[in-house]
């Protein structure tokens, strides 16, 4: 860890009740250690804001180890910033240069209304899951785990899809604010496993229609979601959902 410090200019989106349309504010981030994470850099800026009597920047975050999916902002035009396969909390300041100006915007989608500053409301994702993103297995009714055989290849594929952290970067990155990668990942995760087959048809029907109803955009195969997804979920999951949907619709 070779520590050095850098100075940055931040252009941050601020939006709250007194400023419902929102706009950018400029801040300077001084003496930022390159070992800090992006969120720690924001912490430092916020501490200064508090002490100078200003309102700190609201941003969502929780585990700060890249798994809870709570954090996220569009940094210089890219969801979770410039580093691939990395959530914002795991982006470290050594990837920036002193003197850089960084533009920080919230996820922008009609389905994700802004709560405050960089915080958005992603409850649409929960609604989609509630519409079918589960296997109906009652507590206590399960057979012995090893009675269900799942080949390693299928188990691995299901895991790849299940790795989604529900952060919403796919929606943010998609030029159409589409949630296909999120929905595709869940449809694939459950649909690949034998336990999930009985409900496959209703699942894809309901989840797709809920997604549409909530105002997400359509997929035009731009593949930005796949590129900016911190968990590298592949658009093959979307293709699998499309397949499931055809099957479900014409049978």
């Amino acid at each position: 860890m070779t520590t050095k410090t850098i100075n940055l200019t931040l252009k941050v989106w601020r939006q709250n009740r007194s400023r419902p349309k929102g706009g950018f504010e400029n801040y300077t981030a001084k003496d930022i250690s390159t070992d800090m994470s992006f969120l720690e850099m924001l912490d430092v800026v916020n501490e200064d804001l508090v002490l100078s009597g200003k309102e700190p920047i609201a941003f969502d975050h929780d585990c700060r180890e890249g798994i809870c999916g709570m954090c996220g902002a569009v940094v210089d035009g890219e969801a979770h910033g410039p580093l691939k396969e990395t959530t914002l909390c795991q982006l470290h300041m050594r990837h920036f240069k002193s003197g850089d100006t960084i533009v920080i915007e919230p996820w922008r989608a009609r389905a994700f209304p802004i709560v405050k500053d960089l915080v958005v409301d992603r409850s649409a994702f929960d609604e989609i899951i509630a519409s079918g993103g589960y296997i109906s297995s009652k507590t206590g009714g399960a057979q012995d785990a090893n009675n269900i055989l799942v080949g390693k290849e299928i188990a691995d594929k299901a895991f790849n899809a299940a790795a989604c952290i529900g952060c919403g970067a796919c929606v943010a990155a998609c030029p159409n604010a589409s949630a296909m990668l999120f929905v595709g990942a869940k449809v694939s995760h459950l649909g690949l496993l034998p336990q999930g087959r009985p409900e496959a048809k209703t699942r894809v029907h309901n989840m797709v229609r809920t997604m549409d109803r909530l105002g997400f955009g359509n997929c035009s195969n731009e593949t930005e979601c796949e590129v900016q997804c911190p968990k590298s979920i592949s658009i093959r999951e979307i293709a699998r959902m499309n397949r499931e949907f055809v099957k479900a619709s014409f049978s």
Binding site: F24, E78, V103, G215, N218, E224
Partner: protein, 213 residues
């Protein structure tokens, strides 16, 4: 029929419509291009081909009705998708940057599509709805491409078609759910190859007719 309409009202259903109609157009332009290649052989060969083609009147009528319906579906669905997508991102980003997924084809689909629509209208008025009682089709073509403006308009429009195909071809397989690590790389290559072939094949015609001959 309720389930049928309902299916195609969903986002995925609309994508299937785009994919299937798009596939139809790709088939059409390949056949169209192969026919047009006779232009490079000479005016007799081309006129003979036109003659022969016009012999199948009933077939042509069916094909024209088919293409028209494809066009109506492709254009209306495309328009609905375009509007839906715009409203889904109600506030746009200040910094617009690609993470590396987009390419010229994917980023311009609605716009190249619009250019193609205008071009098709122009193209039909140039070569379809024309009187060929006292001249051959070849004459019509040479007359049209004697104008620099037409050459440029046609070349630009063909480029739009190529760019549209560059994204549209592999993309239609993805939309239909056909994506596997085994064959998707090949489809992506074919997509580029097809774009080049369509671009060069059609693009050379105005240049060849208007400039070289």
């Amino acid at each position: 029929m309720n389930w049928f309409v309902d299916t195609f009202r969903t986002s995925l259903g609309k994508k299937f419509l785009m994919a299937v109609t798009g596939l139809g157009f790709i088939g059409f332009i390949i056949v169209h291009m192969m026919g047009n290649m006779t232009l490079f052989v000479g005016h007799e060969a081309f006129n003979a081909y036109v003659e022969k083609l016009h012999g199948y009147e009933a077939l042509i009528l069916v094909a024209e009705i088919g293409l028209l319906s494809l066009a109506v579906i492709h254009v209306t669905t495309g328009l609905l998708l375009f509007l839906g997508n715009r409203s889904a991102r109600n506030v746009s980003y200040t910094v617009k940057k690609s993470g590396g997924g987009r390419n010229i084809g994917s980023a311009t689909m609605p716009y190249t599509g619009f250019v193609i629509l205008l071009f098709v209208i122009l193209h039909l008025s140039n070569f379809s709805f024309v009187d060929t009682t006292d001249r051959t089709m070849y004459d019509v073509i040479t007359a049209t491409f004697s104008s620099w403006i037409y050459i440029i308009v046609y070349v630009v429009s063909v480029a739009a078609v190529a760019i549209h195909v560059r994204h549209g071809f592999w993309s239609l397989f993805q939309s239909l759910g056909l994506n596997h690590e085994k064959y998707m790389p090949a489809l992506r290559m074919i997509s580029i190859a097809l774009a080049v072939i369509v671009g060069v094949g059609f693009g050379l015609i105005p240049i060849y007719i208007g400039i070289i001959t």
